[in-house]
Subunit: 140 residues, 2 copies
Amino acid sequence: MGDFLKDCLYFTTNRLSRAITKMADEEFAPTGFSPMYGYLLLLVIRDPGSTQKQLADQLDIAPSTLTRFIEKLERKRLVIRTAQGKSVRVYPTENGKTLEDEIRRASNRLHVRYEKILGKETADLLSKELVRSTDQLEAE
Amino acid sequence: MGDFLKDCLYFTTNRLSRAITKMADEEFAPTGFSPMYGYLLLLVIRDPGSTQKQLADQLDIAPSTLTRFIEKLERKRLVIRTAQGKSVRVYPTENGKTLEDEIRRASNRLHVRYEKILGKETADLLSKELVRSTDQLEAE
DNA sequence: TATATTTAGTTGTACATACAAACGAATAAT
DNA sequence: ATTATTCGTTTGTATGTACAACTAAATATA
């Protein structure tokens, strides 16, 4: 029978997810929000005027989830929304832009930290493997 | 700069987690509960009398999370708890035991499904890689 | 033996995330 | 042109998960 947990991709993936999320939360703590919000803000800063659909696609999260994230960033005055037909375009505020550096630093700290443990090569390879597998699972 | 998302293990891991969790939820739907509850029940059936600490360690989740899971299984009359000093031992009920087969079938369906997409070899290797990396990150 | 520390579990609270249903705008079909 | 369909977004609701603070039991230390 073996250990049905360690053989199950559902379990092993979620286990890694919990570990790396914990680490990411710690490194992003100084920014005042969690990693997903950080990355979302970076996306908006890089491509001002993205629609919510585009953002949700890039982050690979459900539209409703993105709505919630954007709402929160808007409440904190880090982004603004403008309706455009059925779409909604999102732009960073000046306030939001000033956070870019701090978020990048948090992201760098996170990378350095896990690369030190796993090795840079291994970490890069693993990430690539995860992207490839997810792409396949989602194409299905 | 590259794509900061696909290079970030935090992001790529959580992305896979969302994909595989969705798949697992679908396959476990006929059992009436979600994959984690299924696996937890299998653990309890395999090792009746495990303490909550042992179960939380095996599932690699926070003790508080396990408390919540067990509470729910208990409300559904699938397990019972007996206090033993400061520990709590968990046993499956007869009701719980009858579910074992159905959970195993769900688990098998999940495995077959993702192995068909990724290839059995690749899937096994990936799972091993995830276990190894998580072990390293947690040893830290 | 009395006190301090560690350990297991619980409770309150919070957050990321999803799905389903609803809604309005855009596009296609008749 | 009217109707039907698709598409992007929002809202209600639910779940998995965690942390911090707490309680109670066990162990170690004084």
